[in-house]
């Protein structure tokens, strides 16, 4: 057997991670202190307790990595801690604006703690991500069930027109956030097995090899699910997110751009059909049901016609968001100087607008670059991963974050129609935060595998088990 071809070995870089974590904590704790100074004119009394708690969470995550994933990417965790810390500070700022009793930030910190716990659990118990491949169909079924849950009468809840929530007692929960992880695992497992068959070329059209007709099954199934979400839950964002992940992973698995074209055409056609149905479907009930999708689209085109007295005021969210971001300008108003509470849902869906108002374009760009870093690090793990399942899983998870950020930030800044997705790590919301911590744990696990020194596969010249050993001199 020949020598291992790998000549480059990654260093573990846990020290660098620790240094970056200190900076990340400085962002989170500093922002918290700045909120107190800006809004109340004094450093918050619980700054030390709060800061210690945040630092403890970061240290726990860091130490876990040192023990169970020493070669994991050193940038991901600090970026996530910085984003989460900043999100907490903004939520706290909006709490203060609402007055004494509001404690969304405290709840968010609890969720963050749970997120870190699940992060640790994932890394400790999932020593090899390839284990997940065994649960391909379980995950797939789980995801579909979760996605359909909001449509079950009794537990589904309409919030802001879209029904992507379920509510059991006092708890509300966005099942889509968990479903997106399960879906990525299911797609990876499925595609890694069937990629060869799916890659077989069918008809050729304009330099692009289209897939064979008989392989269209899974694509059509996923398309069907996306349409069910769009029609049943009236949410273009989630629908786009799930279908987008699938298509991208299909493309990565098969290396056939034909899939992209086919899927893109299908989605545009499907959305167009829903659009048509929302305006001119012969049955009034169907039109009424879909009116929400159409309204969102209209608001995107003409936000000011849906703002102010004498209108439905449905565009308030978007218009206030744009006013806020414009008011913030390049450097922002500063904590306590803006009026982000004017933006409906400023602490969840619209948190980027609140940041844009008080911290300015500078902070918005920094945020986007942080997300860019997460995506880049995730895709890098995919590129250097040695197993196909890992590659697909990492690509899927990284793209989930990229697409979700694009859909939500694009919606808030009126690049695309606004839909009800959360901003990863920033928005107040337990299900989203916890799920995203697990996403990061999975990415770190894959990158740990990929960056680990290659196992020595070379067999010794003479097997050890021989009774007599020959000692080689150097």
């Amino acid at each position: 057997m020949s020598q291992s071809p790998v000549t480059f070995t990654h260093r573990s870089r846990r020290g660098a991670e620790l240094l970056l974590l200190v900076l990340a904590l400085a962002v989170g704790i500093g922002a918290y202190a700045a909120v107190g100074l800006g809004v109340q004119g004094e450093v918050p009394a619980n700054l030390i307790g709060y800061g210690s708690w945040l630092a403890a969470l970061a240290v726990v995550a860091h130490v876990t990595l040192r023990f169970v994933a020493p070669y994991a990417d050193p940038v991901l965790l600090p970026v996530v801690v910085a984003l989460n810390g900043l999100g907490l500070a903004i939520i706290h700022r909006l709490d203060l604006a609402r007055g004494g009793e509001s404690a969304v930030a405290a709840r968010q910190l609890t969720w963050m703690t749970l997120g870190v716990v699940l992060f640790v659990v994932t890394l400790v118990f999932l020593r090899d991500h390839r284990v997940l491949q065994r649960y391909t169909y379980t995950c797939g079924l789980g995801a579909v069930l979760l996605l359909l849950l909001p449509m079950v009468p009794g537990i589904g809840a309409d919030i802001n027109g879209a029904s992507i929530w379920i509510r059991i007692g006092p708890m509300s929960f966005q099942p889509g956030e968990v479903a997106k992880i399960l879906l990525v695992i299911a797609f990876s497992g499925y595609l890694v097995l069937h990629r060869d068959a799916l890659a077989l070329a069918g008809r050729r059209l304009l330099f692009i090899d289209l897939p064979r007709g008989r392989d269209l099954g899974p694509l059509l199934m996923m398309f069907g699910l996306a349409m069910v979400i769009l029609v049943g839950q009236k949410d273009l964002g989630s629908s786009l997110l799930f279908f987008g992940i699938f298509v991208v992973m299909l493309y990565v698995a098969t290396e056939r751009p034909g899939w992209l074209l086919l899927a893109g055409g299908l989605f545009v056609g499907g959305a167009g059909l829903v659009w048509w149905a929302s305006t001119s479907f012969p049955v009034e009930a169907v039109r009424g049901h879909l009116a929400h999708v159409k309204t969102r689209f209209d608001i995107w085109l003409h936000p000011f016609e849906y703002y102010g007295e004498g209108t439905s005021d449905a565009g308030r969210q978007l218009v206030e968001s744009m006013y806020g971001m414009g008011w913030g300008g390049l450097l922002g108003r500063g904590f306590g100087e803006g009026s982000p509470w004017l933006i409906p849902l400023a602490d969840s869906d619209m948190i980027v607008a609140a940041i844009g108002e008080e911290l300015g374009l500078t902070a918005v760009m920094a945020l986007l670059l942080c997300y860019g870093l997460i995506v880049e690090r995730g895709l890098r793990a995919a590129v250097i991963s040695r197993d196909n399942f890992g590659k697909l899983l990492a690509t899927g998870l990284a793209f989930v974050i990229a697409l979700q950020v694009f859909v939500v930030v694009g919606g808030v800044t009126r690049l695309i129609p606004l839909t009800g997705l959360t901003t990863p790590f920033l928005s107040a919301g337990g299900s989203s935060l916890v799920a995203n911590w697990v996403v990061i744990a999975l990415l770190l696990r894959i990158s740990d595998f990929a960056r680990r020194p290659a196992p020595d596969l070379s067999t010794p010249d003479e097997p050890d088990q021989d009774a007599t050993q020959v000692v080689k001199l150097p």
């Binding site: 991208v248 493309y251 990565v252 698995a253 290396e255 000011f304 703002y307 102010g308 744009m322 006013y323 806020g324 971001m325 414009g326 008011w327 913030g328 300008g329 390049l330 803006g338 009026s339 004017l342 844009g356 300015g360 374009l361 918005v364 760009m365 986007l368 997300y371 860019g372 995506v375 880049e376 895709l379 995919a382 590129v383 196909n388 590659k391 697909l392 690509t395 990284a398 793209f399 990229a402 697409l403 950020v405 694009f406 930030v409 694009g410 800044t413 009126r414 690049l415």
Partner: protein, 496 residues
């Protein structure tokens, strides 16, 4: 699988670049548009939270910001609300800003470029930005005389008074009745604001209207000054000439009583009479005939030279940022009968009190009409003058000789004729009364009065209109009520 992963990373890059670009567009390029948007509550809140400059008459503030302990830092107050409401306007909730508050908003809020230096100093010394002050041209005694005069009239008065300094165009007084309390429209509580605004807007006598600039009415006999100016400017007449007289004048193209103009019993002789007599007795027959002699084109030209059919006053603005000045009208197309009626200020002739004051001021200023203005100085928060309005000419309405002739005619109208209530002992006053038919049976005629003094070197020109008051119809004519108001305003200016 690495090639598609790389392509996907490029796709992600494109998505993030699109987000970055769009955020930059929104927060950098579009930011200014959003800031100017009247519905943007952030802008309103910021305006309420900063120390806005004062509006001054002399050294006395008539609108100022005082510290407030509610949700905004400052409260706009108007120390003499009813006296100055037509000028200050109000600084209200949700971009409801009018008057000087609106036209000088950038100065008062401190955003004006002329205050750049002050703004930089404030920024560097870390003080809250302060607005600049606006000093008005108003003479407080004249303003008081004008307002008192209107309020002394019997009943629910609707009317206006404007006084101008003829040599500069400075507005010395501008009163409108009924008036209102702008403090009620500067309250911070949105519900209370709404109630107050609805109450004022629903009021039938329209207190929010500044009748001095926003209301146009038929000017009636005061317009005979313009007709006389047109006649003298033809060169065929001088102040000493004989003009057509007579008890009645049949308008061309008409027959019967409906087309017949009379003089309501005043002595206008027969055949030809002296120009002075025609003016003194406000002879309708004379001026209708003169208008037809001059012709519609020359009449239009003369009226426009005094400012009719023009916009010239921008110091008072409505909530939309447009000038409040209503354009005074002289019709452009008419037949001979209608031309005759315009000669006595009827048919479709409409004038604001400001416009009629400008007619008097133009004659007083040797034929040159100055552009009227209300904002005299812009001052920084430290009372340094950063800008001062320079008087500008609007037009040369008549030649100095014609102006001198008109002045003689108008002086004798006060000393010997219908305008005698405005006479001031020891000073030559030039003036003219007017009674304009409203054209509606249930609406009484409008009483006008315009004058200037001293006649040879005028310091003030005034126009008074009483649109409605509890006066018997028989007493509306003859300057019985308007004359004394004009007199009081002129005395307030002259006896400084």
């Amino acid at each position: 699988m690495n090639k598609p992963i790389r392509i996907i990373s490029i796709l992600c890059l494109v998505m993030f670049v699109a987000l970055l670009g769009n955020a930059t567009y929104l927060q950098y390029w579009k930011a200014g548009d959003f800031r100017d948007d009247g519905t943007n509550r952030r802008v309103v809140d910021a305006d309420f939270s900063r120390e806005r400059g004062a509006i001054l008459v002399g050294r006395e503030p008539i609108a100022e910001s005082v510290p407030s302990d509610d949700r905004y830092e400052f409260q706009r107050t108007y120390p003499k609300p009813f006296l100055y409401a037509p000028l200050t306007g109000y600084f209200g909730y949700g971009g409801a800003i009018t008057g000087v508050e609106r036209s000088q908003n950038s100065v008062l809020s401190g955003d004006d470029d002329r205050l750049f230096v002050t703004r930089m100093v404030d920024l560097l010394s870390n003080e809250g930005a302060q607005g600049g002050d606006v000093a008005l041209t108003i003479n407080p005694r004249a303003q008081r005389a004008a307002m008192d005069g209107l309020e002394a009239l019997p009943g629910d008065v609707q009317g206006a008074v404007v006084a101008i300094e003829p040599s500069t165009g400075k507005i010395l007084a501008m009163a409108s009745a009924p008036t209102y309390d702008p403090n009620k429209l500067a309250v911070h509580d949105q519900g209370e604001w709404q109630r107050n605004a609805e109450q004022l807007e629903g009021n039938e006598s329209q207190p929010l209207l500044n009748r001095a600039v926003q209301t146009t009415l038929p000017p009636g006999s005061t317009f005979k000054i313009v007709t006389a100016a047109a006649a003298l400017s033809t060169g065929k007449y001088s102040a000493d000439s004989q003009v057509p007289g007579g008890a009645t004048y049949q308008l061309p193209l008409t027959s019967g009583e409906s087309g017949e103009i009379d003089n309501e019993g005043r002595d206008c002789g027969s055949g030809r009479i002296p120009f002075a007599q025609a003016m003194e007795n406000s002879c309708n027959t004379t001026f209708a005939a003169l208008a037809n002699e001059v012709g519609p084109e020359a009449m239009l030209e003369q009226a426009e030279a005094f400012g009719f059919n023009q916009e010239y006053f921008d110091d008072l603005q409505g909530t939309n940022g447009k000038s409040l000045q209503a354009v005074s009208r002289f019709p452009e197309e008419m037949d001979e009968a209608q031309t005759g009626q315009t000669g006595i200020g009827q048919f479709e002739v409409r004038a604001t009190p400001l416009q009629m004051a400008m007619v008097s001021a133009g004659i007083a200023n040797h034929g040159t009409v100055m552009k009227p203005y209300l904002v005299d100085e812009i001052q920084s928060a430290d009372s340094d003058v950063v800008d001062r309005t320079e008087p500008t000419e609007l037009s040369q309405a008549v030649s100095p000789e014609v102006a001198a002739g008109l002045t003689d005619l108008l002086v004798s109208t006060v000393s010997n004729g219908t305008a005698s209530p405005a006479a001031i002992p020891g000073i030559d006053v030039a003036g003219k009364t007017g009674t304009a038919q409203s054209g509606q049976d249930d609406v009484p005629p409008y009483a006008w009065f315009t004058s200037f003094a001293p006649a040879d070197n005028a310091k003030v020109a005034v126009a008074v209109v009483i649109q409605k008051a509890d006066i018997p119809r028989s007493e509306i004519a003859g300057g019985t009520y308007g004359g004394p108001i004009a007199k009081a305003v002129m005395e307030a200016v002259i006896n400084q």
